[in-house]
């Protein structure tokens, strides 16, 4: 077994890949209200959206129990930074990349098979089984986050 391990282990991400996958810092200052940016972390697209008041209200007014994957908007953002939505932009259906600010819920729309996510990145309609994942991140200052 021990002899086999090096032959299996070598397939895992190598040191440089792990290093490149280290946390990244993103400055939020240039993102105006109602805008979003897409950054790449570990080869995955991360949407950072500066939500409008309307978007936040929409996300919070819907009864949580009526959702396919029940989760409150508060649980998906950081307290005190309610306008910032940070989600991994990979559709939970078959891994496509949804388009921001499209669809019927003011959130994301996946062009592959028509899954629609709301302004909290929660699945509302279509074949996807789960909400858009929230990556590990924290605020290092009022206008800067660290992803990872």
């Amino acid at each position: 077994m021990a002899t086999l391990w090096p032959f299996i282990s070598q397939m895992n991400p190598d040191a440089s890949t792990i290093a490149a996958g280290a946390p990244i810092e993103v400055d939020l200052a240039p993102i105006a209200e109602g805008q979003d940016i897409k950054v790449f972390w570990r080869g995955k697209p991360i949407y950072i959206m500066n939500r409008t008041k309307k978007q936040i209200d929409e996300a919070r007014s819907v009864p949580v129990s009526s959702l396919p994957d029940p989760q409150s908007d508060q649980a998906r953002v950081k307290e005190g930074h309610d306008q910032w939505l940070v989600v991994i932009g990979i559709c939970t259906h078959l891994g496509c990349i949804p388009i921001a600010h499209e669809g019927n819920y003011d959130g994301f729309f996946c062009p592959c098979h028509g899954s629609q996510y709301d302004s909290s990145g929660r699945i509302r309609q279509g074949p996807a089984p789960a909400n858009l994942a929230v990556p590990p991140y924290q605020f290092v200052s009022a206008s800067k986050i660290q992803i990872g």
Binding site: I8, M11, R42, P45, G95, C96, P127
Partner: protein
């Protein structure tokens, strides 16, 4: 059947070798003296055809690997360089790419033949299981190879398929990371896929040797499904089977050549001519046609893990076939019920394949579920049940009797024909419905000088198109796979080398660093590539309202539209493959000042009749009188569009004329040779019937 050979070479040197390594005796007993049933039909030539295809794939693959670069930023370009710059590179690439499809076509026929004639039954169980292993290895090899060109479909196909493993409970995510060698599909993934894609064909060769060995121990099955008993039942492998296999292979090669030389992109996805982009997913992720039935089964199951299990079971279940179907009669020829269910199973397989290419919505999902059930029912319910209740018709006493009797029921082909027609009708109805919905979007089919088997580029159009590109398109669009030297290439715009050099010297090319360590600009040389209008993607996006003007080198192959059933079947025979040019031409002429009532176009976008979604970021690029032609051609948008599209077809397929010319020679030769083979075969078999 193949005992120790009594073969003795007459040449003393060969005899010397033979005493030490009896390899010639082995070959002689396996491929010369080896007795084959005398009633084999042409479905049995597919074994030889598959061996030939394996050889073709390994040969072309090893050569391609000499020119290919398995690195994420260079892989796509290296494939383009093979096609454009390597001598006969286009031939080798087409051979390998369509060869994969041909290989699978042959293997499916080979498998259905085994299914129909009960070739998996005692004493050929191991032989059959080895075949299933070869099929699994082929699927893995095909998938790995499809990743290597690193186009959009390669990348996203690899993403979806590797993600299947994430369905495994507990270890799923770690296994996927292990497969990727990173946190997403990337350069490490490409590297290992290349390594494995090179390895697996040789593993296949190994298993094929075992497969043939097992075949030569058990002996071949035959259409009658009775074992050979006496000398009268068999003929020697050489010349009888050899010549028949040769004839079969030649026929198959004609089909293969048709694809290589005339329809190289017929089975390819247009999206794979767009370099891999981890930030954008193609609208439809579709695997190669030979995986579609299994893809349909995967998607029909709402639970991710269950879907993956069902998909893998659908293949593994084949390995258990010898124990699921316990009927004593082998051949479906003598099993009236099994025969009908067999044809239904074929139809189920084809329909699943069709559904695999459809979006997983509404009626398609329901249909896939029903057919997935039918697929498994055939193995788990129908076959075990039939072996208990079916009353087979009497089988002939011996193969010799079968050959003499020459009987055949005429009713069963009728049944299968009716089923096939019903299916075709259903498909037709479905597609007609689709066609109606998409009517307004489909670009009109234009007359192109380069279409058809004798198509050639119109030199004047290429030269005018180059002028339109240079004066208009090049402001935003790069053409980075084309070098200035290419415009003097045979089969191109027909400029002389001096003209190409003069053309190049009009451009300023950034070069360096010089001895002082600084970058500098110099006049272009023929070996330089067309410079890009923007230094990088971000600059291009900023200048174009956030949209990236695509590189135009491959645009006429990277854009397409659905032709729908049954038109795509006719396209195969008429060699229609001008969807790309039709689309590009239509886009250039499809701008309208005002969108029709009820259509709103976002700020900064323009209405275009043929652009998917109608809102295009490119403003109307061409207007009448914008470019003046020296040869007096009309300075109209229609003329510009036509010329620049012709030019862009040439940039996408620079060796098209050479391809079609060589194709004609190869086909004429193959047809003559096949004819000769046919008469040789008739002569050889004259005394055996």
């Amino acid at each position: 059947m193949s005992g120790p050979s009594d073969y003795q070479p007459t040449n003393p040197t060969l005899r010397w070798i033979e005493r030490r390594l009896p390899i010639m005796g082995l070959m002689h007993s396996s491929f010369v003296a080896y007795p084959t049933p005398r009633n084999l039909n042409y479905w049995w030539t597919f074994g030889a055809i598959l061996s030939m295809m394996l050889g073709v794939m390994i040969l072309s693959g090893v050569i391609l690997a000499m020119h290919y670069t398995p690195e994420a930023t260079m892989a796509f370009r290296s494939v383009e360089s093979i096609v454009r710059d390597v001598n006969y590179g286009w031939l080798l690439r087409n051979m390998h790419a369509s060869g994969a499809s041909m290989f699978f076509l042959a293997v499916y026929i080979h498998m259905f033949r085994g299914l129909y004639y009960g070739s998996y039954k005692e004493p050929r169980e191991i032989l059959w299981i080895l075949g299933v292993i070869i099929y699994l290895l082929m699927m893995a090899t095909g998938f790995l190879g499809y990743t290597l060109p690193w186009g959009q479909m390669s990348f996203w196909g690899a993403t979806v398929i590797t993600n299947l493993f994430s369905a495994i409970p507990y270890f799923g995510e770690s296994i996927v990371t292990l497969l990727w060698g990173g946190y997403s599909v990337g350069n490490p993934t490409l590297n290992r896929f290349f390594s494995l894609h090179y390895l697996l064909p040789f593993v296949i060769v190994g298993v094929v040797v075992l497969h043939v060995w097992a075949l030569h121990v058990a002996g071949q099955n035959n259409p009658a499904g009775v074992e050979a008993k006496t000398e009268k039942d068999t003929v020697a492998f050489t010349p009888y089977a050899t010549i028949k296999d040769l004839f079969g292979s030649c026929c198959f090669l004609i089909l293969f050549a048709w694809f290589i030389f005339y329809m190289p992109n017929y089975l390819m996805e247009a999206d794979n001519y767009i370099p891999a982009n981890p930030g954008v997913t193609p609208a439809h992720i579709v695997p190669e046609w030979y995986y579609l039935p299994f893809y349909a089964m995967l998607r029909s199951i709402p639970n991710k893990l269950a879907g993956v299990v069902v998909m893998f079971s659908s293949i593994l279940i084949l390995a258990f076939l010898p124990w699921l179907d316990t009927a004593k009669t082998k051949s479906c020829k003598y099993r009236p019920l099994a025969k009908q269910f067999f044809w239904m199973f074929v139809v189920v397989g084809v329909l699943l394949g069709w559904l695999g290419g459809k979006p997983p919505e509404g009626i398609y999902v329901i249909a896939s579920r029903i057919l997935t059930f039918c697929y498994f029912a055939y193995f788990l319910i129908v076959l075990p049940l039939l072996s208990r209740i079916e009353k087979p018709r009497p089988v002939p006493n011996s193969i010799a009797d079968d050959v003499l009797a020459k009987t055949g029921s005429r009713s069963a082909p009728m049944v299968s024909t009716v089923i096939m027609l019903a299916v075709a009708g259903a498909l037709f109805a479905g597609s007609a419905q689709n066609a109606r919905a998409e009517e307004e979007m489909v670009p009109p089919s234009q007359q192109w000088s380069f279409s058809g088997p004798f198509g050639k580029y119109d030199r004047g159009a290429l030269q005018r198109g180059l002028k339109v590109y240079k004066e208009v398109c090049s402001a935003c669009h790069s053409l980075s796979y084309i070098a200035f030297r290419n415009i003097a290439d045979p089969g191109g715009p027909g400029y002389s080398e001096a003209q190409a050099a003069a053309f190049a010297s009009d451009y300023k090319i950034k070069d360096g660093p010089n001895d002082q360590g600084e970058m500098f600009e110099r006049p272009g040389r023929p070996a330089d590539y067309f410079p890009s209008p923007f230094p990088n993607e971000q600059a291009a996006r900023v200048a174009n309202g956030g949209a990236l003007p695509p590189d135009l080198s491959l645009i006429t192959k990277a854009r397409s539209y659905e032709r729908g059933f049954p038109r795509f079947v006719f396209d195969f025979f008429t060699q229609f493959q001008e969807q790309g040019p039709n689309y590009v031409d239509a886009i250039l002429q499809g701008f309208e000042e005002k969108p029709p009532a009820g259509v709103t176009i976002p700020e900064g976008s323009y209405y275009n009749k043929y652009f998917p979604g109608h809102a295009i970021k490119m403003p109307k690029p061409l207007s009448d009188g914008q470019v003046t032609f020296d040869d007096g051609s009309p300075a109209t948008v229609a003329q510009y569009a036509k010329d620049v599209t012709t030019f862009l077809m040439w940039t996408a397929e620079p060796h098209m004329e050479a391809r079609k010319r060589l194709g004609l020679q190869v086909l004429v030769f193959l047809i003559l040779f096949t004819g000769l083979m046919y008469f040789t075969k008739k002569k050889v078999w004259a005394d055996a019937h």
